[in-house]
């Protein structure tokens, strides 16, 4: 009989000093060769469960634990993370703290050296792992010269180089653009299919990985919510945790179609089989039309903007002659692959970087929120960060109502984001109004869909009060939700600029799931439902 890759029995865990259990009676059994997706809201216990499965909980984090975890036949009570590392590899969310060596080659060699492997074994394993993950060209590079996506692959390589049969990943695509994210999921599928690696993948963007999964495990507040095939997950999610439902599941639910397809291909097939051919074009929803320019002038105006970043090899042009205007009240999603210049544009608009050529004008000032809201907090109380009436006005401008005595780091993820933005905006707008331009850099990192909807809500609120919103994001579903306009950057230039429907409706990578199902005629489930609803179809005689 083949030994299970992972067995978790009645697992309860409480972090040191916590009052509630992070995991509360989890039972889970993964058979060798399975690829399971671990779903759940932010703070539901996904990361803790993954850490328990590799022995970091409780060996490294401490706390109180009950129940049992067995990895490759060894109990995590008896064996620590280092001993279990032959049976399980773990890749955490933050790639910066996942590498401990100076060069990529040394990073891959280290786990083998620490296990006493010989030079031949080390050389073979490093080369094979590098080839499997397509990081062979990176072997001679220093780790501090790698991008976030490259670091993520190197961390994955270091976890795989000892050949563990079980691989645990905690939101590995959170920092990747859609192209790199899809590539990583495809790579995991290949590892699973060709080398038989069992995979447990914690992920928020389920639409990205459900198609590759054999099974879905969903948890909520530390308890098992669902454990079954992806085909049945959609219905279960709609009943118990609607925010976990994928866009295509919501699309079918809103359209009143009794099906829950997992992939775009299945959704199209279902429509072909049960609902006739794809629906005819209907007028585009009004909210996706690009708004007309206001007479009051731009919140941001760039003309032939050129910005260079200084590196080891001298200055490198990141923005190369960019022309862009953002009007007051516009909600612009700035998209494009890693390295396209999105963050550089935001930093230049906020005055952190200077233009090397061309011009940039931000007449009413810009407030910028970086990728890590916690970087903005240097004091222990909210009212110390934002003192006086101007501070209270800034909090009101972002709709945040928390006690002044609260520690910023104790607030929820969404509240921390709003507080950081309030700190960035404080005193910039007139009479408590937001500043002319508000820049957000990858604000959905690590957020579940409910929090993304909240974020989209207060972006709309800020825009309604006259601010121009410029939001750099890799998240096409979120862009479709909040944006009134999408600008696609590539190699430092705007290569597409139009309504969300125009930009996100027709592409391969930069397209929402709904757009793929509806052939680009709708980009959100709500819009798509209008096209697919049975009464619409009936009206059209299909």
């Amino acid at each position: 009989m083949v030994e299970p890759a992972l067995v978790i029995e009645a697992l309860e865990y409480r972090y040191p000093g916590a009052v509630t259990n992070a995991l509360d009676g989890i039972d889970l059994r993964l058979e060798p060769g399975e690829l399971a997706v671990l779903a759940g809201r932010s703070g539901s216990g996904k990361s803790t469960l993954l850490r328990a499965a590799c022995g970091l909980v409780p060996h490294f984090h401490g706390g109180e634990v009950a129940g049992a975890v067995t990895v490759g036949g060894r109990s995590t009570r008896d064996a620590g993370p280092a001993e279990l590392a032959r049976s399980v590899g773990f890749v955490a969310q933050e790639p910066e703290t996942q590498v401990v060596s100076t060069t990529v080659r040394a990073e891959l060699e280290l786990p083998l050296e620490l296990r006493g492997a010989g030079p031949v074994e080390i050389a073979r394993a490093v080369e094979e792992t590098a080839l499997a993950l397509a990081i062979e060209p990176l072997l001679g590079r220093t780790t501090d010269s790698l991008s976030g996506g490259e670091l993520q692959r190197v961390a994955l390589g270091a976890a795989l180089v000892t050949g563990p049969p079980l691989l645990l990943l905690d939101e590995p695509t959170s920092q990747l653009d859609p192209v790199a994210g899809d590539e990583l999921i495809a790579l995991l599928r290949r590892l699973n299919e060709e080398w038989g690696v069992t995979v447990l993948l914690g992920e928020h963007r389920l639409e990205r990985c459900l198609a590759a999964a054999d099974r879905v495990v969903a948890i909520d507040r530390g308890r098992l919510l669902y454990d079954g095939p992806p085909e049945a997950f959609g219905r279960a999610a709609l009943g118990a945790a609607p925010e976990l439902a994928t866009p295509v599941t919501r699309l079918f639910q809103l359209a009143g179609i009794d099906a829950s397809p997992v992939t775009v291909k299945e959704a199209r097939a279902r429509l072909r089989a049960g609902a006739g051919p794809a629906p005819a074009p209907v007028p585009r929803p009004a909210e996706t039309q690009r708004p007309s320019r206001r007479a009051s002038g731009s919140a941001l105006s760039c003309r032939r903007l050129r910005v260079e970043l200084r590196g080891e090899a001298g200055p490198r042009a990141v923005l190369r002659g960019l022309d862009l205007d953002v009007d007051p009240g516009e909600r612009v999603a700035l998209m494009g692959p890693n390295g396209a210049g999105k963050t550089t544009l935001l930093r230049t608009a906020a005055g952190v970087l200077a233009a090397a050529g061309g011009s940039i004008a931000v007449p009413d000032g810009a407030a910028m929120l970086g990728q890590r809201p916690d970087d903005y907090f240097v004091r222990e109380r909210v009212d110390e960060e934002l003192p006086g009436s101007a501070g209270r006005a800034a909090l009101a401008a972002v709709g945040l109502d928390v006690p002044g005595s609260a520690d910023p780091r104790d607030l929820s993820g969404g509240e921390r984001q709003r507080l950081a933005l309030a700190i960035a905006m404080a005193g910039r707008g007139a009479g408590g109004e937001p500043s002319g331009l508000v820049c957000l850099d990858e604000p959905t990192r690590g957020l579940d869909r409910a929090r993304k909807d909240d974020l989209a809500g207060w972006i709309a609120e800020l825009a309604g009060r006259g601010a121009g919103l410029l939001v750099a994001t890799h998240d096409v579903e979120f862009a479709a939700r909040f944006a009134s306009r999408v600008v696609l950057l590539a190699r430092g230039r705007a290569i597409a600029d139009g309504s969300p429907l125009e930009v996100l409706g027709g592409g391969w990578y930069f397209a929402t799931e709904t757009a793929r199902v509806t052939g680009g005629r709708a980009i959100t489930p709500e819009q798509g439902a209008g096209l697919l609803a049975p009464d619409v179809l009936a009206r059209e005689g299909r």
Partner: protein
């Protein structure tokens, strides 16, 4: 952000040689910095170290530490001029300073401070060349079989430094992005946050090290490295440099006294040694540099 003393793979013998050979090569220059007070020899050693870095394509990496050490050196000269009240040649008499009171500034105290400053500059330059050219992973790999705990600590620190530098840069940028009505950041608050954040980061790095297998206690095999091109030349230069420096010191031809009046040994032996140090030490690097240029067309 890359830290100031950042290693990067570099061409030339110093970039590819085994760490102990680079250490043997740089040893005579470090010995000059720590044991010899003669300014002429210190200048020769410092120039040689900087040239060695430049010939190994590490010029930009040692330029910043050099600038730092220059400001530190200026401070050392100033403090020594105030603190040392010895010397026969008074340049400023009865100079009044708060707290310290009435002081004289002497030429000899300035000279002694300048020699101390030169020592600092030479030592930091040698260290900068080592940091820029020697792969820390190779050093740690060599240490690991004999001192696993020290290697673990060094690994943790060597990874934490660039992460803390990147965190500090980001937090400073967030400080610049604060609105005018938000409380100013302040260095103390920023430093406190950075330290607290570094503790969190070090826990994450320690978890990664644990997963990589540091806790296993298996004795790593001592790595075997093949001989790299240029290593013989480096060893020869290091050995010759060491012989020159120790024999000159033993012969008493490296002298410098600041008090009561400045006395510098500038005899033919000292001048010969000052010329020999760069010639001997840079010869293998120059030869490799010429070969690279010829090969590169």
């Amino acid at each position: 952000m890359r830290p100031v003393l950042a290693y990067a793979p570099r061409p030339g013998p110093l970039g590819v040689a085994r760490p102990w050979i680079v250490a043997a090569y740089l040893a005579p220059l470090a010995i000059v910095a720590f044991t010899i007070a003669n300014p002429l020899l210190l200048i020769a050693a410092g120039t040689t170290a900087a040239a060695a870095g430049a010939l190994s394509a590490a010029g930009p990496s040692i330029a910043r530490p050099l600038r730092w050490s220059a400001s530190l050196a200026a401070m050392v000269v100033a403090v020594n001029a105030i603190a040392s009240q010895r010397g026969a040649t008074i340049l400023l008499r009865g100079f009044e300073l708060p707290v310290v009171g009435r002081i004289d500034v002497t030429l000899e105290a300035l000279a002694e401070g300048a020699v101390l400053a030169l020592r600092i500059i030479v030592a930091l330059t040698v260290f900068a060349v080592w940091s820029a050219c020697v792969d820390p992973d190779r050093v740690l790999r060599a240490i690991r079989p004999v001192a696993a705990r020290s290697a673990l600590t060094a690994t943790l620190v060597s990874r934490l430094v660039p992460i803390a530098a990147a965190d500090g840069t980001r937090m400073a940028e967030a400080g610049r992005l604060r609105g005018p009505a938000a409380a100013p950041v302040g260095r103390v608050a920023l430093t406190r946050r950075l330290v607290a954040g570094s503790l969190d980061r070090s826990v994450d790095i320690a978890a990664t090290l644990e997963l990589r297998g540091y806790g296993l206690g298996i004795r790593s095999r001592r790595p075997r490295h093949r001989r790299e091109p240029g290593e013989v030349g480096l060893l020869g230069a290091g050995a010759t440099g060491l012989a020159l420096v120790t024999s000159a010191a033993a012969a008493g031809s490296t002298g410098f006294d600041a008090y009561p009046r400045i006395a510098i040994d500038l005899g033919p032996a000292t001048i010969g040694l000052a010329l020999a140090i760069p010639v001997v030490m840079l010869a293998p690097l120059l030869a490799a540099w010429r070969r690279r240029r010829t090969a590169g067309g």
